[in-house]
């Protein structure tokens, strides 16, 4: 069964350091989402891609966060410099284009980030 792959699963970093997360969506999925989930809360959208283009990054803290999906396939989310408040689960999800079949988002296992 096809899955969304994320790495690493866990990351501990010191504040002010740089950190990067990688996501490989299900093959053929045009839409890719990065969510941040703080413990005890629902997922919050950071950035949404349609193919290689950013559709929505209105909630992405652009002074320290960046995301790219250069070839419209896998994606990287970077934080530089990391702050204590960035400690959270970072979830990647993908979905097909509207009308292409499945309508749900498929999630990866997430990356648990701890900033110390």
């Amino acid at each position: 069964e096809a899955e969304v792959a994320q790495s690493p699963r866990y990351k501990i970093t010191e504040k002010s350091q740089a950190v990067a997360f990688w996501c490989d969506p299900i093959s053929g999925h045009a839409t890719l989402y990065w969510y941040r989930q703080i413990l005890g809360q629902g997922p919050e959208l950071l950035v949404q891609f349609q193919d290689e283009s950013v559709v929505d990054d209105s909630q992405l803290p652009k002074d320290r966060f960046s995301a790219e999906r250069l070839k419209g396939v896998d994606s990287t989310l970077k934080i530089q410099p990391a702050e204590l408040g960035d400690s959270a689960m970072y979830l990647c999800a993908s979905s097909q284009r509207q009308g292409a079949g499945n309508t749900e988002a498929f999630f990866g296992q997430g990356t648990r980030l701890t900033v110390v």
């Binding site: 969304v4 994320q6 839409t31 989402y33 005890g40 809360q41 629902g42 997922p43 919050e44 959208l45 949404q48 349609q50 559709v55 929505d56 689960m89 979830l91 999800a93 979905s95 509207q98 309508t103 749900e104 988002a105 498929f106 999630f107 990866g108 296992q109 997430g110 648990r112």
Partner: protein
């Protein structure tokens, strides 16, 4: 923008008892509705979805949900819960006229007690 409200942050229930987790959303115009389940340190897994048609939707693990357009609700139910159902449950809306964005509720922690 859509908003999703899950009215209960925590629901304790005894094993084999019925349960209902409540979800309300802001607008029923051109949306799809979903329930996801999340186990500790895991991603979200789809339980069920409503696209159109019958308002009663059945999902995995014996869960079902009912779409109510007039009340803009999509409550999740299970007639008899198991210990293994202990997890966090998220209601979500996909807005098909707004770049297919997903909006999530804040989650309901279901705690099944023996």
């Amino acid at each position: 923008a859509q908003s999703v409200t899950q009215l209960d942050s925590q629901v304790p229930v005894f094993e084999e008892a019925p349960v209902e987790l409540r979800c309300n959303y802001s607008s029923s115009v051109s949306v799809y509705l979903f329930w996801y389940v999340q186990y500790p340190n895991q991603g979200l897994q789809l339980l069920l979805k409503y696209l159109s048609g019958s308002t009663l939707v059945k999902g995995i693990n014996g869960f079902e949900a009912e779409f109510n357009k007039s009340q803009t609700s999509f409550h999740l139910r299970k007639p008899s819960v198991h210990i293994s159902d202990t997890a966090e449950y998220f209601c979500a809306v996909r807005d098909v006229y707004n770049f297919n964005k997903f909006y999530f509720g804040s989650g309901t922690k279901l705690n099944v007690k023996p």
